[in-house]
């Protein structure tokens, strides 16, 4: 294609296009950069609007306060617990359902699929679901965080499509001729061949749990069970500087407290997003792959 000369119009197009895409990338990056430099700057400078491009009078005071707050650690711990247990449950339920549904010789697959897919278009809604979870005695327990939303129809479809396209029927026939049972085949052959899809699902579920706050909002009342996001919301959005208000009982003036509270907010954003941001460059290709696998059919 190099043989063709680029027309003047094409060159203009490229210049404008590069400029636009660069501008867009900057618009995405700047807020994240600003939060980072603000979280380590002197709160008075941030408050006065003197921080734009570089941190000013670097201080770690905000982080010191954040890390000395017990609630933050509780939130971290709970989130990790919910993510671990929840992801395990979700993946188990999804894969064991998706595999049979991917088998052409599984009698009744269409009916079961219909039962699953119908729920994508119609649901009982918030209130009946809440009452059910309450009646099951799950409110204020870890189970409310990991079971009511364990399965997503979309994930089943993705996993099913993956099995259909990557586990050849011949492989199964060969294994069965050698006397392999369905169970053995699933655990010894299908699962080891499904690492990409399992990796993608683990990632999506972990991120979902890490960022989730709605289930905690409706099902949890007990502060000691709060995940990180709910504690974050209390500090960032509701402005309740939690029990850490106690740590601000210093002799500082009200205004100074206010400023430190702002500093804490910037720091909180970093602290809560940090694990994902660190992992992000390594995980990105898996995420993209996940979306691609999901769009095989669509």
């Amino acid at each position: 294609m190099k043989a063709f000369r680029r027309t003047k119009g094409d060159i203009t197009f490229d210049v404008v296009n590069y400029a636009l895409m660069t501008l867009y990338a900057l618009m995405v990056l700047y807020p994240l950069y600003f939060i980072t430099i603000s979280s380590i700057s002197d709160p008075n400078a941030v408050f006065a609007g003197e921080v734009w491009l570089w941190p000013k009078d670097i201080t770690l005071e905000g982080y010191e306060r954040i890390f000395s707050d017990k609630l933050i650690w509780i939130g971290y711990g709970n989130t990790i617990l919910y993510a671990a247990v929840g992801t395990a449950i979700s993946i188990m339920l999804t894969l064991t359902a998706a595999y049979p549904l991917s088998r052409p010789d599984f009698y009744g697959r269409n009916l079961i699929m219909l039962v699953f897919v119908f729920t994508m278009f119609f649901s009982g809604g918030l209130i009946p679901t809440y009452l059910l979870v309450k009646d099951l005695g799950m409110v204020d327990t870890i189970w409310a965080m990991v079971i009511p939303n364990a399965v997503g129809v979309w994930n089943i479809i993705i996993a099913k499509t993956f099995f259909e396209t990557s586990i050849p029927g011949e492989l199964r026939e060969a294994a069965f001729i050698d006397g392999c049972s369905n169970t053995r085949f699933f655990f010894k052959i299908v699962l080891p061949l499904s690492k990409p899809i399992i990796a993608v699902m683990v990632l999506f579920h972990v991120v979902g749990h890490w960022n989730g706050f709605f289930d905690a909002l409706i099902y949890l009342n007990d502060e000691s069970k709060y995940p990180l996001q709910l504690i974050l919301r209390n500090i960032l959005v509701e402005n309740q500087v939690s029990n850490s208000a106690a740590m601000m009982m210093d002799v500082e003036s009200y205004a100074a407290k206010q400023r430190v509270a702002e500093l804490i907010k910037y720091g909180m954003i970093i602290v809560s997003t940090f694990p994902l941001l660190i992992l992000y460059p390594f995980l990105q290709r898996y995420f993209v792959k996940g979306v691609m696998i999901g769009s095989i059919k669509g």
Binding site: M1, T7, G9, F13, N17, M21, T22, A25, V28, L29, F34, I35, V46, F47, G49, L93, T96, A97, P100, R103, D105, Y107, I112, F116, F121, F122, S123, G124, G125, L126, I127, P128, L131, L132, I147, P148, V151, I177, N182, T183, V207, N211, G212, F213, F214, I218, Q229, L232, L236, V237, E262, Y266, I269, T273, L276, Y280, Q284, V291, S295, G298
Partner: protein, 317 residues
Amino acid sequence: MEISLNKKKQVVVVPKKMTRRKKVMRNWELYLFVLPCLLWFVVFKYVPMYGIQLAFKQYIPTEGIWGSPWIGFQHFTRFFESYQFWTLIQNTLSLSLWAFIFTFPVPIIVALLLNQLTSERYKKFVQTVIYAPHFISTVVLVGILFVFLSPTSGIVNHLIVLLGGEPILFMARPEWFKPLYVISGLWQETGWATIIYLAALAGVSPALHEAAIMDGANKWQRIWHVDIPGIRPTIVILLILAIGNIMNVGFEKAYLMQTDLNKSASAIIPTYVYEIGLQRAQYSFAAAIGLFNSVINLIMLLMVNRIVRKLGGNSLW
């Protein structure tokens, strides 16, 4: 036709007819595999559907859903006649429409432009950057809005003052709710939404582009006549899904961005259901409003799907 082995270990073709019992028994283990998930669906998806009857009942906690007395459409008429009804409908519809009008086409445009970047490495770099906000939680996103737009310390108001303006109380002004909702949504999700279009664009045959270049097409013409028709099926499917969800405005973000002062613009059906149902424990009234919302959603999905099918595009079913 089924192929199996007889006792002499020869491959034989057995007759097509197999009894249902045999078909099931042959793969009995697979049914055990599906069972947990199927049970989960019955309990957590179908039991709540059974609970919808609550919308037509007066819920008495001690009697349970089944035992509570029927009252017909009373909750619905009460909702239709309430003074918030039109505000809620208007807020919900306009918020989702505005969000839809921007968040649907922008990723397509960005994907088309991104696809035209000649440097593969720069393209990868821009992609990496613009995907990132997708992984920020809604809580953090709204938190960012609050700190950035704070009237006293926020960077946006510092800029406004610097340019000689008056600070704006963004989070307290109803007229700012919608723009902020839409813009923050664009910032967070545009990049991520381009993935699927970029995948579709990668599937457009290079031969078509070469032929177009031969015919003297410039970049614009190639985008218009080659790329866009190439990703049209993808656009249509995503369009149907998006419209089917039009009443499902993101509860989380709207709820988090809601303040007492911007409520006249930020009260939407999902936040109202949450408030009435879970905060004030008027379960049956809230269930009725929730049902109203899902029915409208379902009707819109069916309608759009039908229109698209009539227009000759590929529909969802």
